[in-house]
Symmetry: C2
Subunit: 362 residues, 2 copies
């Protein structure tokens, strides 16, 4: 079963043109409902990460399904969503520097941002923003429980930051932000327990313990004390999520409709979707996407507007002009290349959704 | 010598915020003048590829310097530039499909597009567009002279396409489009000579022989019969062009100003520029960019909004909050992630330029 169906892809090519990112709203809704259900079963809140869709329209669908607040990765995203009426916004990112402080202060005037910090510079910056906004700001401590991304590396560092938060006078220690590696529940639990003990020693208690990641849906709620889960990719899914075992092909709600614009030799082909459409993000997978109509075709390389196909393992070969649908490796970076997503339901085009926070990197 | 200077980068961080793509207009002008000069010395026309900057403002600078026409990779780019008043537009891409035919016909009503084709489907599509526009359309044959990208693979195929072009009745055979691999002059020359003989046998003659690529500036004009060269990246340059030996650090006119937002261990650091800012395009280089202030730092991996630094070889270490400037690996895909480029001159911010054709992938 392919999505969108071949005839729908052809309609999209004819009416809208390729390449084009297309979402199946039935699947989007099913993905949203399932995530919500799993969070409810685990007894935790769902806090969708909007970095995947960057669309208030889709965030409203997530909210209607029962999500509590949203997650943004950058202040610029948070501004778009505050503008669209969202209030409970977790910014899972270190905010710092004069320009960001001013923007955070203004944001705090019209929404309820919670900012993550893993260092004293960010704690001081959020305190400055709180002072400018004339209010208290909640802050969560980002903990590195094994990924070697952002986050304090030890519970002792977390405790030192809690002291700084307490000392600031206008900050409200809200809890902990975790993004454990897959199968990293035990280490994350140990970290959290020790950091929570640190909080208690200061007379503090986390009211938010936020875990993250669509691949971590496997372990949802398995860290005792978790209050919410942040996930973004689940809303559309992609080849990476299929590889992680948290989605099937039928759960992939976004495809890129593309046209074969050239052949050249019996085993070669070229798509009109290159790195400016599908992105060079491999997601550590082989090839840059799954072509539903030619699953044996390998998108082995990109130019900016060309996707180069190795067709040597295909039992049948696409012709120039043929329209195909591609499940991208990493949907979040693909959406960020688009101005709009074409929406479909039941095999029909229903409209389009603007990627309103596209490119809001700052 | 770094660009922008540390204090300018700090000003940009404070006034505009990071991450932010910044261009040095003095360097842009110098790069434009030098390309023009080299084309003139080689006795060929310069036809800048606008895919790099996607800005009519910068294309006008190229035109003022003496460029003859522009190159676009997608119809959507050509539409933006036609809207901005450009007429002589080479679309170095196979146009096909009903939707593109209609758009090409409309474009032909207000500009002078030349379309590249490497297959009969595109020849038929351009002929259809010519019919819809009620005019003749020029077409060049894209030849694959070794890169295994788009292009007919043999001169015989080129001759067959010329026959189709002649037979169409409303197409004007304009010549050949080449994109030889580096050091591929001899093979390209042999291909061109044989294809030109094919043209003569049909009573045709190429008035355009277009070579392409900034790395091919080494070989500019070395293919006898060349009339013009398409190049894009030279306008800004990047780490790939430095690696190709066609640019020095002082020729790199675009940097991404970024802030260190986290550390974590003595040898780690995190930039606020990730794959949504610098793109995952490695350009086959080690690391995802050159940090001017910390050239020994390696941007070894990305999250969407995080650039992960290996600082183990750095004699001094950046602090959280420190602002740095990065020369990206592949500038074209970075610009495509931006809505605007901040412009500077003589170490001062002078304004900004919109990336007007950003995301015009269709």
């Amino acid at each position: 079963m392919t999505s969108p169906s071949p005839s729908l892809a052809q309609t999209i090519a004819r009416e809208i043109g390729t390449p084009c990112a297309v979402i199946d709203l039935d699947r989007v809704e099913r993905n949203i409902a399932r995530f919500q259900e799993r969070c409810q079963e685990a007894g935790i809140a769902a806090r969708p990460h909007v970095k995947t869709h960057k669309s208030p329209v889709i965030a409203r669908m997530q909210q209607a399904a029962g999500a509590r607040g949203i997650t943004c990765q950058k202040l610029g995203e948070a501004e778009i969503f505050a503008e669209a009426g969202f209030r409970d916004i977790l910014i899972s990112y270190n905010i710092l520097g004069e320009e960001k402080v001013g923007r955070l202060a203004r944001l705090a005037g019209r929404a309820e941002p919670i900012v993550a910090a893993d260092n004293p510079v960010t704690v001081a910056a959020v305190s400055q923003a709180a002072a400018q906004a004339g209010r208290t700001l909640p802050i969560v401590i980002e903990c590195d429980t094994g990924r070697k991304r952002a986050g304090v590396e030890t519970p002792a560092e977390a405790t030192a930051l809690m002291e700084a938060i307490k000392a600031a006078g206008n900050l409200d220690f809200a809890g902990f932000l975790l993004y454990p590696p897959e199968s990293g529940v035990e280490a994350a639990q140990a970290f959290l327990d020790e950091a929570s003990a640190g909080a208690r020693s200061l007379g503090l208690a986390p009211r938010i313990v936020s875990t993250g990641g669509t691949p971590n849906l496997h372990d949802l709620g398995r860290i005792a004390g978790t209050t919410e889960h942040r996930a973004g990719t689940y809303v559309f899914n992609d080849r990476m999520m299929m590889a992680a075992g948290v989605a099937t092909l039928e759960d992939c709600a976004l495809t890129v409709v593309s046209t074969v614009v050239s052949r050249g030799g019996p085993a070669r082909g070229i798509l009109d979707a290159g790195s400016k459409t599908l992105s060079s993000d491999t997601g550590k997978l082989d090839g840059f996407g799954l072509i539903l109509e030619y699953p044996q075709a390998r998108i082995h390389a990109f130019a900016e507007e060309h996707g180069f196909l190795d067709l040597s393992r295909c039992p049948s070969l696409p012709q120039v002009g043929e329209v195909v649908s591609i499940v991208p490796n990493h949907v979040c970076v693909v959406v960020n290349l688009m101005d709009r997503l074409v929406t479909t339901r039941g095999g029909k085009i229903t409209g389009e959704i603007a990627v309103e926070a596209r490119g809001r990197i700052s």
